[in-house]
């Protein structure tokens, strides 16, 4: 199977912002052999390094787009840009959407890129995931696992 990397992005201390990291943690012991799972912050060169050489990339981050908490957004970024407005990209940091575009411009983006955004309900400091987001995490973990297993099977 081609090298696949799964990256969960987020901050454990900021409520639902931890969703991406939670997905990564739940996936890590369960993914098929050859799939690498990484928890990461948004530092652009660190992200690019984490997916260096991968054929296929799955990124999971929290989004704040106004949809109901727990809503799952899915983008195929291998071909076209992810909406920068959905993925927090602020004047304070280079966000995921910008990093993807930067990597694309530099020729450092894997061929297949799927980006999952979990709509957050609360960014309250020190709080656990809200129930809606927790369900979304459970659902996404199952969905991603099924997807990864299918790819492994078809690659055999």
């Amino acid at each position: 199977m081609t090298r696949t990397v799964v990256i969960g992005i987020g901050n454990r201390l900021r409520g639902d912002d931890a969703a991406g990291v939670a997905v990564a943690e739940q996936l890590r012991p369960r993914v098929p052999e050859g799939v690498e799972v990484v928890s990461c912050d948004e530092e652009p060169s660190r992200l690019m390094e984490a997916w260096e050489g991968a054929e296929s990339l799955l990124l999971v981050d929290t989004v704040s787009s106004g949809a109901p908490p727990g809503t799952l957004h899915r983008f195929d970024a291998g071909e076209e840009a992810v909406p920068a407005r959905t993925f927090r990209s602020s004047t304070h940091a280079i966000g995921v959407a910008d990093t993807i575009e930067l990597a694309r411009a530099l020729g450092r983006l894997p061929r297949r890129v799927r980006v999952y955004g979990i709509e957050a309900g609360s960014f309250e400091t020190g709080s656990p995931l809200t129930p809606a987001v927790e369900s979304a995490v459970t659902f996404l973990v199952r969905d991603v696992l099924a997807d990864l297993e299918e790819r492994c099977t078809s690659a055999r």
């Binding site: 912050d41 530092e43 690019m48 304070h92």
Partner: protein, 430 residues
């Protein structure tokens, strides 16, 4: 007949934090120029009241994700000077090394991601990367090396957790530090390349004539300590700062604006540091500056990108020197007993002088805190410069003029979120 024009940028891009700009022109006459700072107030000085003096570095680090080390260092300097503690040389060197990491990371970010696109006619670093991937890769690698240095010494790259009043929680071994030598040597080469690259940009000829203000430390390019010096001849201990500078509130800004008491604009940051201290840069950094004909003084805000590049060479070079000379301290931190009174601390954040003042009671509780970040100090100078740039370029059409104005602001690498304050009841007025 005169024609009235208003040029507005509602949301300044490629600066840290949330700000806007308005320029009003009546024909060739500049009626009004303002840099509005609408980043919400931060309340940090109030948070600090009632907390232990030992917590100040960790609390104030949160003011900025780009220059947390500056906040930690200025607060530590204030506490240690009040409590009569002078840390041993290895601890001071580690602090300077950590601070160099922050300079490398912050300068690389500003030069490559935020500022260079202005000179080369791109909307963003992403567009720049399509045409100049090698340069952008160089910038990312430089930034990464700065981040790695901060991670090793600070425990993590943003908001370091390993820094404390009196020293560090854990100090690195010589072996750990030596692992950074090779990346830093590469970074130093990349920084030299950065100087040549930015020196080749087109610059409108500009000179600002306000007072320049920077720290001064015999024998070194001042970063983590020093006396406050100005081009007009001020030479102050940090404790004398408040006698000479005041902060004013203006309605358009959630940041306070600093000025010399009784009026007078001044500028801090790379141009001031370089113009007052170029002779103390490392030989390699001086050589790099000479090679591109930079001279011993630079008062051109557009060329701040070149000066930042020279400082990048210095920060890499200095990091290597510090690692080479490092010897393990006897212990990671000196004990610090609180003393009632007022402590003052300064350091050179990447974008300029950062002043802290704390009043403590006898058990170390903070009774009062005052923080004056570089962007507050530079805000008046930025507006003066903006006014003058507009006045000299009234013939440009609105869009070109707007871009020039934005570039003028970015010349100062403003860190807007650092500068916001809570201002009585006037903040939320509509």
């Amino acid at each position: 007949m005169s024609k009235r024009r208003t040029i507005v940028t509602d949301y300044l891009a490629r600066v840290e934090g949330e700000g806007a700009m308005t320029v009003q022109l009546d024909g060739d006459r500049v009626e009004h120029v303002e840099l509005r700072i609408f980043e919400p107030p931060r309340f940090f000085e109030a948070f600090l009241r009632g907390r232990s003096f030992l917590e100040a570095p960790d609390i104030t680090a949160r003011i900025c994700g780009i220059c947390p080390v500056a906040y930690q260092t200025s607060s530590i300097n204030a506490m240690e000077s009040l409590c009569g503690v002078v840390v041993p040389e290895p601890i001071r060197m580690l602090r300077r090394l950590l601070y160099c990491g922050e300079w490398i990371e912050s300068h690389a970010l500003h030069i490559y991601m935020l500022h260079a696109p202005d000179f080369l006619g791109y909307e963003s670093a992403i567009e720049l990367a399509r045409d100049a991937s090698q340069a952008v890769e160089r910038g990312l690698a430089l930034k990464r090396t700065g981040n790695d240095l901060m991670t090793l010494l600070g425990g993590r790259e943003i908001h370091p957790i390993n820094v404390r009043v009196g020293g560090f929680y854990r100090v690195p071994s010589r072996r750990e530090l030596r692992a950074l030598v090779e990346p830093l040597e590469l970074a130093r080469e990349a920084a030299l390349e950065t100087v040549r690259w930015t020196a080749g940009f087109d610059f409108p000829e500009r000179v600002v004539d306000c007072d320049l203000l920077a720290l001064d430390q015999p024998g070194e390019y001042a970063i983590e300590r020093g006396r406050i010096r100005s081009s007009a001849g001020l030479d102050l201990a940090p404790a004398e700062y408040d006698e000479h500078f005041e902060e004013l509130h203006v309605e358009r800004s959630n940041a306070l604006q600093s000025q010399l008491r009784g009026g007078g604009t001044y500028l801090c940051g790379p141009l001031a540091r370089y113009s007052l201290g170029a002779a103390r840069l490392s030989p390699l950094a001086r050589e790099a500056a000479a090679e591109i004909g930079l001279g011993n003084e630079c008062r051109d805000p557009f060329r701040s990108i070149v000066v930042r590049s020279v400082e990048l060479v210095h920060a890499c070079d200095e990091s290597l020197r510090l690692i080479e000379a490092y010897e393990d301290p006897e212990r990671p931190a000196e004990p610090v007993e609180p003393v009632a009174g007022t402590g003052y601390g300064v350091s050179e954040a990447p974008r300029g002088l950062l002043y802290h003042r704390y009043r403590l009671d006898g058990d170390g509780t903070i009774l009062e805190a005052k923080i004056v970040p570089p962007t507050s100090q530079n805000q008046l100078a930025i507006e003066d410069d903006l006014r003058d740039v507009v006045a000299r370029n009234t013939s440009l059409d609105d869009e070109v003029l707007r871009q020039l104005c934005e570039q003028t602001i970015r010349n100062y690498d403003p860190c807007i979120s650092c500068a916001t304050h809570f201002l009585d009841l006037q903040v939320d007025r509509k």
